[in-house]
């Protein structure tokens, strides 16, 4: 047992454990599928549970339970020892900075997913089938391979400010100086700073959108493009009339996923400005209250708020799923 749990610092042992884990897992899943496949006429529920059961069990224990607990905590005091009713929510909505935080979050969730998806889609479409496709996509994918904190540090460099008379180290200000302008302090003027921070997020997430949309563009059956071409459709018309409608479900998925990521991401703002100069967002407030202030009640309320913000996105998706279900 001890051998199975702890590998110490022996690399061989670690790799063995890894293979054992994979083999055990494959055996377990195999067993489940074997059992599911056994009966001649299984009930649908039985088969269904065989397929989705493992996911349900893990998610209930790992995500649902903590989520419910958090909802409970949002009605408790800072270390969850006393019931305080709606106090945390009242606090969240009366803190002087909070309207700005909500406004910023709305701005993020409206702008960032759209722009990131736009660039990802445009690029995936433009380089599709081109000679350098793989390398070209690699370039836009690169930012994804850098951690969010790393990416933020890179962009802090780009926005860096040095006064007149000192050599510029930030690329953006260098451009301004080259064009004859005065160097600017980009990160302290709201609301411009929020958009500049969003650029970092977009820079990262465009790679995500590109990868998924590229896979989906390639799944468009050739018969469709072929038929359109015979009808004389080409260029932008092909893009708007054939590509977009064909990958519409994937677009919705990508937009939704990036929107969810937008709501949860706090490290970029944290690294760029620490939420100062009116740049904070709900996710960062949640993180700060939880981990820096030890305000478990207030942070739980903020997490619940995130969930509330995302409800429209969920509703939209459910409607989209209904629509595509009918088409099918």
């Amino acid at each position: 047992m001890e051998w199975l749990l702890h590998a110490g610092d022996d690399p061989g042992h670690k790799i063995m454990l890894m293979f054992i884990a994979i083999v055990l897992f494959v055996a377990l899943m195999g067993l489940i599928l074997f059992v599911v496949d056994r009966p001649r006429n299984p009930s649908r529920w039985f088969v269904g549970f065989g397929f989705v059961g493992a996911a349900l069990v893990l998610l209930t224990l790992g995500l649902l339970y903590p989520a419910v607990r958090t909802i409970g905590n949002s009605f408790m005091n800072r270390n969850s020892t006393e019931y305080v009713g709606l106090d945390n929510y009242v606090r969240a909505f009366t803190e002087p900075q909070f309207l700005i935080v909500l406004g910023n979050t709305a701005l993020w969730v409206l702008v960032a997913p759209l722009v990131a998806t736009f660039f990802g889609l445009a690029y995936a479409y433009l380089v599709d089938k081109s000679r350098f496709e793989s390398v070209a996509k690699g370039l836009v994918f690169l930012p994804m391979a850098i951690s969010m904190v790393g990416a933020s540090i890179i962009w802090k460099f780009v926005y860096e400010f040095k006064p007149v008379g000192v050599e510029q180290t930030g690329l953006l200000n260098q451009f301004i100086v080259w064009l004859g302008g005065e160097p600017q302090q980009f990160l302290i003027s709201a609301p411009l700073n929020t958009f500049l921070i969003m650029v970092v997020f977009i820079w990262i997430q465009a790679g995500f959108a590109m990868t998924l949309l590229s896979a989906s563009i390639k799944a468009i059956p050739d018969d469709i493009t072929e038929a359109a071409r015979l009808d004389g459709v080409s260029g932008l018309g092909m893009f708007w009339r054939i590509t977009i409608p064909s990958i519409r479900p994937a677009l919705v998925v990508v937009l939704t996923t990036i929107a969810m990521t937008t709501l949860k991401t706090f490290d970029i703002v944290r690294t760029m400005t620490a939420g100062q100069f009116d740049t904070s967002i709900v996710a960062l407030e949640f993180y700060d209250q939880q981990f820096r202030q030890g305000e478990s009640g207030l942070s739980a309320a903020l997490a619940v708020l995130l969930f509330v913000i995302v409800i429209p996105v969920i509703v939209y998706n459910v409607r989209q799923m209904r629509i595509s279900e009918e088409v099918r």
Binding site: G165, V166, L187, Q276, F277, Q293
Partner: protein
């Protein structure tokens, strides 16, 4: 020692560690045979092993330590544990993470705390005690050590609601102004001895402002802790303009944050920091203080764009490699002078040792860390300097650099009135939030000292 400074850090560090390690091994080998050890205290890092006998046979046990101290500083930390490990046969499992302050509460709540955590500030200790009831009171041996080697204030910082939990470890001296001795000499300037002299010097230098050059430079950007270097500035001035008693009332909230004396201190600091003729040398205007990275904010001194930069003793390690830190070198620091009187108000900070378990080996290790033996071992294992402790058993001769000895001198000076970094003692909602934000707003916007202090006062938790 000066030879060490000039030569390559890394090689020396390794060599020094190796040398003292050998000595320790020799000393302990003797101890094992003779059972005593008092006589062998000739070697560099030899420590008195008999102290740990009362904890029983600890051979083969392990103690886990969790801290914010990562490489390269972690190397000198772990090296300083070696004498203890050699004496007792305990293995210290060291884990450093910059995210430790966020993660320690998670581990504590989940029931898997480390044995010992090195807490970077008393505020975290208070949270752990009051919210999670997780830290164990210090064992009597530790308390005895602290009574012997530390001033009563330091014991007080490790005390929460009347119970003593955490012994102090290292100390920082924050009341320094960095400058370039060679630049001063060339221009014929003297190091100011009083606040007024400093302001006069500032005015003199400002007359010669050229291009981006200004008398002072400052920067408070520090990732998610942006603002703290600004709070240090204010604290230093409060300590000087309003005095230590008001300072104590201020952080304990006996007087409000926006008390007129505090607003006045903001304005006094503002005479320098918000005067576009005085700041921000090589970095821009007043508002650039809010965005300049604190680690680089003193660098304009090297380009002769800035003359003075107020920063703590640990700024010593921030200078780029090859910078000579000495009284007649590229950079050095002078004590930020008092405004009046003969006392030397000094802003200090430090780390504390919190324990979450009470096994004998853990208590033995706590005892070691709170002793003079550890302080001296640590001094020897830090050949590049940048470390000091207010532990009065520390032999200043063992410190690596002139500058560290200066810090030790200030800490030991009877005229010194030391006060702990107030933002570390204020409630987290102020000390790690509104005070920090208030500082950046003060620099980046037109808000007056009154407006900023009013806002911070509003954020003070009511409980």
């Amino acid at each position: 020692m000066t030879i060490r400074m000039a030569s390559k850090r890394r090689a020396i560090a390794v060599a020094a560690t190796g040398a003292s390690l050998a000595l320790v091994l020799a000393a302990c080998a003797d101890t094992d045979d003779g059972g005593g050890g008092e006589d062998e205290a000739t070697g560099a890092s030899a420590i008195d092993c008999s102290v740990f006998e009362e904890f029983g046979d600890l051979e083969g046990t392990e103690v886990s330590v969790y801290t914010t101290i990562v490489e390269p500083e972690a190397e000198t930390q772990t090296a300083s544990y070696v004498p203890f490990e050699d004496c007792t046969g305990v293995t210290i499992n060291y884990e450093g993470s910059r995210e430790m302050e966020a993660q320690l509460p998670v581990r504590v709540q989940a029931g898997s705390p480390p044995d010992i955590a090195i807490l970077p500030q008393p505020g975290l200790l208070q949270t752990l005690v009051r919210d999670y009831d997780a830290v164990l009171p210090a064992p009597e041996q530790v308390e005895a050590n602290v009574d012997e080697f530390w001033a009563p204030e330091w014991k007080e910082y490790g005390t929460v609601d009347g119970t003593f939990y955490a012994a102090p470890l290292g100390s920082n001296v924050k009341s320094y102004v960095w400058y370039s001795p060679s630049m001063f000499e060339e221009a014929g300037y003297e190091v100011p001895q009083t606040w007024d002299e400093m302001m006069e010097l500032t005015a003199t230098i400002a007359e010669g402002n050229e291009g981006a050059a200004r008398p002072w430079c400052a920067g408070v950007e520090s990732g998610d802790a942006t603002g703290w270097p600004g709070t240090d500035w204010i604290e230093d001035v409060v300590l000087r303009s309003a005095g230590p008693d008001v300072y104590d009332q201020w952080y304990t909230h006996e007087i409000p944050f926006n008390d007129p004396q505090i607003v006045e201190a903001f304005d006094t600091a503002g005479d320098i920091l918000k005067n576009p003729d005085y700041v921000n040398g090589g970095l821009g205007g007043v508002d650039s203080i809010a965005t300049a990275t604190w680690t680089d904010a003193g660098y304009p001194i090297l380009d002769q764009n800035c003359w003075m930069h107020r920063a703590a003793n640990f700024y010593q390690t921030q200078w780029p490699e090859g910078t000579e830190v000495s009284p007649d070198g590229d950079v050095y620091a002078f004590y930020l002078p008092a405004i009046e009187g003969d006392e030397k108000p000094t802003l200090v900070a430090g780390e504390f040792i919190g324990a979450f378990t009470d096994r004998p080996e853990v208590q033995a290790f706590q005892t070691y860390l709170s002793s003079d033996a550890w302080a001296n071992a640590k001094a020897e294992e830090t050949p590049a300097g940048g470390w000091v402790s207010a532990n009065n058993g520390l032999d200043p001769e063992l410190l690596a650099t002139d500058f560290d000895r200066l810090s030790a001198e200030i800490l030991a000076d009877p005229a010194t009135v030391a006060r702990f970094d107030a933002s570390d003692l204020m409630p987290a909602a102020v000390g790690t939030d509104s005070f920090w934000n208030g500082m950046t707003e003060w620099f980046a916007s037109d808000e007056t000292s009154q407006q900023v202090t009013d806002k911070i006062e509003d954020s003070w938790p009511s409980k």
